[in-house]
Point group: D2
Chain length 320, copies 4
């Protein structure tokens, strides 16, 4: 291949720019031309496409968000949209595409694959819920952002001897809650993967108080329930006056961590290697600390992300 | 005076520990003994009081929250509570008290003053709404914390071409919203001190979009209305799909900024100077970049904090 | 005036971009055209000048460094260079200039003033050593950056019970050392404005150790001597095994603090106001927490920056 | 075992406190008593040992350094020292020991093992150079700290169009340089594991400049040569006016990252599991993203840490 393109899609994640930069630089290093597509699949269909140079991605590795912009575009689920996208790519003479994003992005890449167009998916989502990889671009940064907030809230919780409920992102996956909860020393971590009993939660808070504990921190993944709802439910079991913080969109932004930048750079360069050798229909990941690629159709149809539940057990044994 | 005490009261603010440290170190430097009172006025009345040494405040200058803990204690509004507090102080042989906190703390200090007991108030609240000083301990740190969040949200706002509403603290005072809004380049700042017209807000967002602006950031002080309510109201004027972030308690915590630590240290040492020279019934502040002390009764009865509204005007001229 | 320009010169300082942004946005708000000059006075003489739009300064307020670049250019000290610069400005129809930078930049602005060309100086230097203002753009951020480093070093110093010497910027002015030293709880602050006696320094360290202190932190302004030289001198007075950290250029960079962004925005907008009303030959500052402008010739010929030495005294009384 | 102890030794690393906390909490959870030993092996021999409770490690997970202090103690290399240490442990009725630190700490643990005393080593060093594990406690945090500094320096480098040399830690291992270099977009990474040719370095800088590049960043591991020496050598190949920053001890401190806290917590709890089941003579690690334990004698005698040199190659292909 001599000409490839890259787009970002779905919710933005820190490190997406580092991944785009790697695709562009590695592509040019390999003698290719690299095009950037704005606004994800919407821009693909609309033909919002331009050639990127080395300097277009200069000073980008450290920036949060995505300079290629992102957009939801449900229309790409239709065959019409997909064929229009391929048409645009062909018009620009682009022979392969790198798609960076989450679940929806992978489905777009899979659709192109099924139409015979070479596409490579890179996992970029703070939720860390993409199958085929242990870690997604953006997860490490988001976890550290949440952790900073927990550290801040602990100052106040300790000063006032209070219970705090911190709602974090994670619709289907408890990864952010698990990692930030263990790292933040949260007494309780509530995730979609594990049932919980509110009476038990209340009992544990009470036990801590009886022992002289200065604060209780409860991290709740949004997929279980909202932080305010959680507080209301908890209040039915006792007078805990829990304060609630809903971290929201701050979790998405910020300069990416070292790990996310290295991961994004590795993934981006590998995507180019795959396209260069004519391969498509794959998604890149890291498994057992090794760079891997998987069949994207297989991953989407049979794969399932599993959070590391040993952390859940660990937390119960060290943060009580 | 040979023996003084210090307490923190009300909402915690970053820099309170630096102020306590300064009171302790400066007191000991001046040949005094310094006692710490836990849990604010509640601990005062309960006699939760202990002598502090130089090393008790070692490695404290950088910590958020307050290691003396804080608590609401409405009972201190009664004469009975106040006299009980003075009795405890006398039992320990304590001749003067430094109170660090916000409005409620000042009222406590004023009550002691009215009973003839020497008390000095230090302004510690992220809201920056204490009269008699241009800046309160904690305001600079909180503003920077909010600013970091705005910077993060801007990444996502730009990536998705969206409107974001960011609710920040400030019941009666717009200081955090004003400073963080100007510093964050927010297009709109909504504060208690200024009326606003939602139709105008909507029009300005629209104008920005028409011009190709990638995002709109609106900072709303909680005293005006909640972020979610604001979004609902805005939606009546057009299809802006505004996302909302309620920053909440993260604004209170964190390691204090250089400015807050210097301010807290200066205030704490000055409080000791005042008590040493037998003065009470005062509150310390910074006015026009100079250390000042004011009569605490006068400040509470006649003073009124004024936010710097020139920043409001400035923002309209540079962040449109 | 209908057309003005802006340049940054000398060492870069965090907040310079915020100041340029304010000049551009406020200028356009006032109906002017605003030009940006690359590489300071070098670019001025070379005619490296372009018109800036609102969006050219979008997403700039949070960036460190200066997107207009900076450069040393001693040739601007010659009349020939100055006249060439004015010629370039006239060629572009530019009627007034805003110069952001330190001492050298002010001299350039003064030279233009003496030739009858309207120029306004804005103080931008982390050293905080410009006369006519209490605070310069970049100082607050640099102080916080140094403080973060001190906080990190304290972790190690405490863990190993060691003496650390931290060399910070400040050739002629001890401001960074003073503020970061007080805020960091440094036992000793060595600045150009104050003589010191190495035997006394050693004695104080020893006294702290005898008392059980876990660490000694000494902040040294580079204008006094290098950190390594200081350690060598200290070693002549006893076996202190002091570790040295030379913070160097990290002090210049990073996202500007809230205060620096607000200061830069205020200064930038005010410069436009002054040019708009036909005034030149001035420099903007903040004195006693109020926005001021001073005659630039007077400031450079008679002004002298004074560090706040009350902080020096304070530190001796609370960080021993 | 019913009674175990924990110590930290060698250079401090962020996350050591999180590891100690996990040992204490998990130990108590398992029904054991846990003792803390101050000042590493020096404190062990001196009997500076105390029982730790749950609350002794409260609010510790987020702190840099080690609250158990650390110290170099070459005397522990002697049999006399080792036997004295075991004697102290027995005096307190302590049946097993967890040692957190680097190479020297492992040798201490191995010596105890050879004397038949159960000891478990946990890898804690920012250098990441311990065999038997892919990652050591502290490495992730240190890399992020270096990265923040690189991001700051890039601001200045870009503003002034300059070459910067950044000396980072790493005597024998290039891990910090590699990770921070890739993540920071450094054009050149100089590590002990790879020869380099200064003429080539100079040529690459020149090529970048010819292409219009605004800065060159060179990350040098201290094990290769000092930053200043590197600049001197580079100057022999051309007029590059490279600025040098020696990051030094700031790399050791700071609140640990999420990953380091999770790693430290996992390692600490696992060490207790091993001691509980009567195992000693092991060191814990993470290999291929899985928790492992290795024979400590085998690791020290036959193991060798290998930096991930694929990152070196990657960097040449994307950061030119």
């Amino acid at each position: 291949m001599k000409r490839i393109a890259v787009l970002t899609s779905g919710g933005d994640a820190p490190g997406m720019n580092a991944a785009v930069r790697a695709v562009v630089r590695k592509g040019i290093y390999e003698g290719m031309e690299v095009y950037g597509i704005n606004y994800g699949f919407a821009g693909l269909v609309a033909g919002d496409i331009r050639k990127l140079s080395i300097s277009d991605v200069g000073d980008m590795i450290q920036r949060g968000g995505t300079f290629l912009y992102s957009a939801r575009y449900p229309e790409f689920a239709t065959e019409e949209g997909q064929l229009k996208g391929i048409e645009q790519l062909k018009k620009f003479g682009i022979e392969g595409l790198v798609v960076i994003g989450g679940d929806g992005s992978y489905h777009g890449a899979m659709a192109l694959t099924k139409h015979g167009y070479p596409a490579i998916g890179l996992p970029g989502t703070i939720d860390n819920d993409i199958p085929g990889t242990d870690f997604c671009i953006g997860f490490d940064t988001a976890t550290n952002t949440v952790l900073e907030s927990i550290d801040r809230i602990r100052d106040t919780a300790t000063s006032h001897v209070r219970t705090f409920i911190i709602e974090v992102m994670g619709r289907d996956a408890g990864d952010i809650a698990l990692w930030a909860g263990v790292a933040g020393g949260a007494e309780q971590i509530i995730i979609p993967e594990k049932d919980f009993d509110m009476a038990e939660v209340a009992k544990t808070i009470q036990k801590g108080r009886d022992r002289g504990k200065k604060h209780s921190l409860i991290v709740v993944a949004e997929g279980v329930m909202g932080g305010n709802e959680f507080a209301d439910e908890l209040a039915k079991h006792g007078d805990y006056h829990a304060r609630v913080t809903v971290l929201g969109h701050v979790q998405r932004g910020g300069a990416p961590s070292a790990r996310d930048r290295v991961l994004a750079s590795t993934f981006g360069a590998h995507a180019v290697d795959l396209l260069k050798s004519g391969k498509g229909g794959l998604c890149v990941g890291i498994r057992d600390n090794k760079l891997v690629e998987n069949d994207i159709i297989d991953v989407l149809e049979n794969g399932k992300h599993k959070a590391d539940l040993s952390l859940y057990q660990l937390n119960q044994e060290i943060s009580y």
